[in-house]
Symmetry: C2
Subunit: 145 residues, 2 copies
Amino acid sequence: MRNLDIAEVAQQSGVPASALRFYEEKGLIASIGRRGLRRVFDSGVLERLALIALGRAAGFSLDEIALMFAPERRPRIDRQMLAAKADELDRTIRKLSAMRDGLRHAAACSAPSHMECPTFRRMLRAAASGAVGARRKKAPSRQPG
Amino acid sequence: MRNLDIAEVAQQSGVPASALRFYEEKGLIASIGRRGLRRVFDSGVLERLALIALGRAAGFSLDEIALMFAPERRPRIDRQMLAAKADELDRTIRKLSAMRDGLRHAAACSAPSHMECPTFRRMLRAAASGAVGARRKKAPSRQPG
DNA sequence: GTGCCACTTCAAGTCGACTTGAGGTCAAGA
DNA sequence: TCTTGACCTCAAGTCGACTTGAAGTGGCAC
């Protein structure tokens, strides 16, 4: 494992230095020391950042991700939480699949407005059953680079 | 189609009146008039709200959803946009599926910390390939009701 | 030894999607 | 007629995840 300063981590991960500092403050990553003022990281931080990005893409908050990194406390609750999250993801995936199919159809069909296409609306209606009051978590919205 | 006042719409859709006003302001829904001060909606608004909720769950912003409701302008770009969105959803779905599988495994496996389970990490690594600098849109986070 | 400047800290700002609060209005019941 | 209270408007606040700006610091090239 090489040591990397914050600029190298930022460059190799695509995560801005400001975000790296923020993650450190939140306890999601840890620097292994300083070189003068500058944070120095173990290169293992890159994998951790990839995992964080993935978790965020899956809709977890930073606090939830921090919990997953935490070394085995609350054993039962933790596992239940994980299973519950998996179930939630399953429901999300089903909705997203329906939405994707609806979009594909809308892109190909010729109704004057997409919402006027009966096929599109039927698909959405199916997907939306019970979804009106739905709650979901956020995923990041960042430009690459 | 019955007419509903804002309180009835809120109650039947699960969307708070404040959010309904906000959506109207944004042009996502429209009231068909007033009864005194009170907004009156056509009951068709309920389907529209379901569609909006679904779009949000799929990661679209309110502005993007408004575009989808818009009556057929920019014909080609619009359809390209839809197809692009569908592709983006596909990528998202793949990531989410990997994440879900990873979580299911982690919930069942006995590594001291989930991030130390090799299976979990392999799954995540596969899913994360090229995902570090990824960008995604937000979905709502609301309690039902 | 002295400048440079990428880094540092800390506070404040931003963005989307709403919510909340203050102060106002009006249809309906007593 | 008067009161009630759910609705109204408009401005400001909230939340998560960062970003931005101002002011400071210190390793390294010269």
